[in-house]
Amino acid sequence: MIRLEELSVEAGDFTLRDISLEVAEGEFFVVMGPTGAGKTMLLESIAGLISPLSGRIIVDERDITGLSPEERGITIVYQDCSLFPHLSVLDNIRYGLRYHRTAMSRWHLDDLISVLDLESLLDRYPPSLSGGESQRVALARALAVKPSILLLDEPLNALDPAFRGEIQTMLKRLHNQTGITFLMVTHDFNEALALARCGAVLNQGRIEQAGEIEDLFKKPRSKFVATFVGIRNLFRAEFRETRARVNGLSIETGRRLDQSDGYLAIRPEDIVLSRHQIASSMRNSFSGEIIAIERRGMFYEVTVQCGELILRSLITRGALEELELTLGKMICFSFKATAVHTF
């Protein structure tokens, strides 16, 4: 288990302020944040490569704040892999073993090499490896010493999209097989969704929100987190009893709202479009004019204007064709009260 207690770090232009975080034993935890949020710095502090100004780092109930990196049993995989260019792949993987004589008995190097499919690369040198291969070698090198915690610094970022899925699957498998605590940082929320159960959002050196990924995704507690997790429908709202007023529209939330005002967020994929009012359990149903249709990867984003409110809905190509959506057309849109998140 890792526990950060009010950790503050300063190095160069970056600062981390009062970071408090708890990662359970064997967890796959993801710290998300935009570039420059201090993600790498957080990892380097945990690894002991940067000394914090204040605060404590506790691993398995032991205060390791003052320990040097080599005494911590925490390994790190950087985005650029940082393989030792003068050593062969095998020597890279074996690099740390001489300092961890007990590690070998529990975790067999051969297993690791075969799980990561590295047999054919062992005699090669790092400069001749592809991005995906380098990443696998870096993972093997970091896991060979059987660390208590593996830190991953955007491991998928430098890879071709084609390799990304492959390494992602591998990471998940390695995590399940080794039972080691994985702490990964990324700027990509989708990666977090695919890999981790719990996570935190870091912004400008502070933790904005921590908890289960599902909660970050559905119940962001700040405007930053809401935007970061891709909630495109985010409005200032006034609350009264169970309803929220946004730009003249009254929206049912299905629960008593304690604040008098705040933010209202609806995930675009939770908004259902239809040609006519549909009879369903959806408590919110309105109609508006389509003002934009844009392709977003596999989906289409349809922007609907209703009075002064502009809402975005994410639909499939099939739905787009079936509804015969075109610019300027009037359309009905509905969403469940439970899809409405307020903070």
Partner: protein, 267 residues
């Protein structure tokens, strides 16, 4: 297009001029003495002793620079601390100080009217007119070249590699010897060559501290002063040849490493 062409022509002409300026006097020097004079110089034990003294004191000076300079170069490459640029300027000082002044400065601390000189005299170390003195002077003038080259080499090794090594369990010294030093070895070798070359060519500072025993540049100067151009040329040629062969060997050693590493990078 025309401007570009005329610029290239200008560059070519300047380049040829520079090459000619460097090579012409040297080639003339190399071809001036006839084989008989060359043979005579080689049979002269004074000449052989002077060249050997030059080579081995310069090699020693480069070795001392390597041993003393490497830790400092590493710290300068890795750490930020107040007064760092001052330290760097101090290291560059021997490059900008006129050579005879270097000799005089060294004499002024090792002379017997100074405490350091008295201590050295007490423990039996002689600087003035000794091989020790020559090596001391050569280290003084050569060490900046070594430290700067080694520092650049260390800077080129990403500190993330050291981070990874530490997190894998290697201590700071182990990391230095297993990662940093091997990856900076080319710069260290070329720093060694640079500092040795600088030491071999030193005349002004050596002649102040130790006229005798005579290093090759001092012998060449003495023969030129005493007997003229013709008599100094064969010694100069032999000295140049020995230096060239030496550097050729060292270059071949470093080039070997270079091709191996870059081959790895290109596959």
């Amino acid at each position: 297009m025309r401007i570009k062409n005329s610029f290239l022509w200008l560059a070519l002409i300047c380049g040829l001029l520079v090459l000619g300026f460097i090579l012409f006097p040297l080639l003339r020097l190399l071809t001036a003495p006839d084989p008989e004079q060359m043979g005579e110089a080689l049979r002269d034990v004074t000449v052989r002793k002077a060249i050997w003294l030059s080579v081995h004191t310069a090699g020693l000076a480069a070795l001392i620079s390597l041993l003393l300079g490497t830790p400092l170069a590493y710290i300068l490459a890795r750490k930020r601390f107040p007064g760092k640029s001052l330290v760097e300027s101090v290291i560059d000082l021997p490059i900008v100080i006129p050579h005879p002044v270097v000799g005089i400065a060294i004499l002024s601390v090792v002379g017997r009217n100074f405490w350091l000189g008295r201590i050295l005299h007490e423990i039996g170390i002689r600087i003035m007119g000794s091989v020790t003195g020559i090596v001391v002077v050569l280290v003084f003038v050569a060490i900046p070249f070594y430290i700067n080259a080694a520092k650049n080499g260390f800077e080129a090794v990403p500190s993330r590699l050291e981070n990874v090594s530490r997190s894998l369990g290697a201590s700071l010294p182990a990391t230095f010897f297993r990662i940093t030093l091997p990856l900076a070895s080319r710069s260290i070798l070329s720093g060694f060559i640079m500092s040795m070359a600088r030491a071999l060519s030193e005349f002004g500072a050596v002649v102040v501290v130790a006229y005798h025993p005579m290093v090759a540049p001092v012998l060449i100067y003495e023969r030129f002063e005493g007997y003229g151009l013709k008599y100094s040329q064969p010694v100069a040629v032999w000295f140049i040849l020995v230096c060239l062969i030496l550097f050729l060997i060292l270059r071949v050693i470093t080039a070997d490493r270079k091709t191996r590493l870059s081959k790895g990078a290109e596959i």
